[in-house]
């Protein structure tokens, strides 16, 4: 391998990563999104150190305490407390861990399964391809949230089951994207030459073709990440996701719903946390699309 790199004499092409960063940086919103996202990841990682209280510890003497800047608020509960006297800030901080866990798990499950099925569909004989695509059509006929609700009804309500259900509902998008990219690449010269050189099917699929199909998959992954956070929170809100006392943001909203007219903060902050996280990821997603879509690149 070392020899081949020495032979190359063409003027060095900017590395893919640097080229990507060049285009990504042009989108100011995307960079802001990246900063916010990084900050949120840091918060999630160090939640245990930052959080002033245990997220499930109840203080009966301090229920529904308002945030510190409002009359009656106190510095020990900066964002106030919920109906059970738990510190809202600590619950939000710990909730961010769950939110990222959910996003990552759903994207990994949905994309891994979707990419493999999509590759098979793109390389397999026509009849296998047809069967796979019809199955994907069937899954896509069900609205994702409804499919997830029903799957959770079968599997039982929990955060893990909610993630699995949503990953299943998102998988067809990855299958379709991968298959379309594979079909476009399959007949190109470099693939044929690899085949002639004796590359086996697994090598052709994963090493030759897949790296050239990743751009749309990455954009879809970003989109799925934010949608997964919204859908899991929605399931939690409906009582079919994480179960109390887990500090999941959607579940927190559901628990405090009856207090909305008395204590605005118990409803406002968890939703705001969801919105900011999803917004940051969507901003990044737009930047990713601009940077990775060759049609939009101005060379």
């Amino acid at each position: 391998m070392a020899d081949t790199t020495q032979i190359t004499t063409a003027p060095s092409r900017p590395s893919a990563l640097r080229e990507f960063w060049y285009y990504f940086r042009e989108n100011r919103g995307a960079v802001i999104g990246l900063y916010v996202f990084s900050a949120l990841v840091l918060i999630a990682v160090f939640a245990g150190l930052i959080a002033p209280h245990d997220p499930t510890a109840q203080n009966r003497a301090a229920t529904l305490l308002p945030p510190v800047w409002q009359e009656g608020g106190s510095w020990s509960y900066i964002l106030g407390t919920d109906p059970l006297g738990r510190d809202l800030l600590s619950r939000l901080l710990y909730g961010s861990q769950l939110t990222f866990l959910v996003g990552i798990m759903v994207v990994v499950l949905a994309s891994a399964g979707g990419i493999i099925i999509g590759l098979i569909s793109g390389f397999a004989p026509k009849w296998v391809d047809t069967i796979i695509m019809r199955i994907m059509d069937i899954i896509l006929s069900f609205p994702a949230l409804l499919l997830a609700l029903v799957l959770v009804a079968i599997l039982g309500p929990s955060l893990i089951n909610a993630m699995i259900a949503i990953a299943i509902a998102y998988q067809p998008h990855f299958v379709r994207l991968t298959r379309a990219a594979v079909l476009a690449e399959r007949s190109k010269d470099y693939v044929i030459s690899a085949r002639v050189a004796g590359a086996g099917l697994p090598r052709l699929m994963f090493i030759t073709v897949l790296p050239n199909c990743v751009a749309p998959i990455i954009v879809q992954a970003a989109l799925s990440f934010s949608n997964a956070i919204l859908d899991v929170a929605a399931l939690g809100f409906l009582g079919m996701g994480a179960q109390p006392p887990t500090p999941e943001w959607g579940t927190m909203l559901a628990e405090s719903r009856e207090f909305i007219l008395r204590a605005w903060w118990v409803v406002t902050f968890p939703g705001l946390a969801i919105l900011i996280t999803v917004l940051a990821i969507n901003l990044m997603g737009d930047g990713l699309r601009d940077a990775l879509d060759p049609k939009l690149k101005r060379s």
Partner: protein
Amino acid sequence: MLNYVLARLLTFIPTFIGVTLVSFSFIRALPGDPIQVMAGERGISEERYAELAAQFGYDRPIYVQYWDYLTGVLQGDLGVSFVTKRPVWDEFFSLFPATLELSICAMIFAVALGLPAGVIAAVNRGKFFDRALMSTALVGYSMPIFWWALLLIIVFSGNLQWTPVSGRIGLQYYFPDPTGFMLIDSLASGQKGAFLSAVRHLILPTIVLGTIPLAVIARQTRSAMLEVLGEDYIRTARAKGLTPARINGIHALRNALIPVVTVIGLSVGTLLAGAILTETIFSWPGIGKWMVDSIFRRDYPVVQGGLLLVAVLVMVVNLIVDMLYGLINPKIRKR
């Protein structure tokens, strides 16, 4: 064109069969025995169990059960609700107008604001208006709508007391509902204030359900307009000295509408998923709330039937959108 329609119809059949398979397997995939679930906590005698198993056909081979289910579905027999003892088909269609009315209003809201916003943003590309509108659209697109609903309730129902919190109409009004559309029925009833009450009940759910489609339509309109505005015929129109309003409004928008119409058609699934949340929060007696309630009540025939009908609804709308698309865009149907 005929070939295109036939080919598209042919893919509908296996998908439909697949969807019936999914909804058929649903009841059988549940943990526990459906008859035990029906019996509830009191339990059930062995004779009665055998009787019920025979009645529902659970004692026969699985493929016979599926065949019976499929032929039943094709005749509109989706089983009977455990809770209300009414046919699932009848329940669905008595609640469907409520969801349809809400969805139509949400879509009108989304199109009425989204289209102009997208056009204005595209025409002012890169300027303040564009950035402000598109930032707002991205916030709307990222919105957890169940939280958005709660915020609107706090402000408009709680603090300002402008709108009611739940239901479709004030309790003091009672009239027959021949169409199931509250706006039409309340007008037809001639009762004073009934129509206004129906409108006031609709406002918040419409905004909540329409928010994400609104954001999607605004973004889609903008990018479609930008693409069209770079075309040669727009330059020609400009060179001819046409007014910008005429160029943007007639020449450009008309062609930009094709992808936008597709997006509108394909957002039926999004609307139905949104209806689940919106209807639950506003106690809107439609399909979404009915499905959620049935899942919680373990009313499995309803969940099974509703799942099937919702999927078929999405499939039919997608089919219609595809055909319309083929009609508008000749490039598609030649393939």
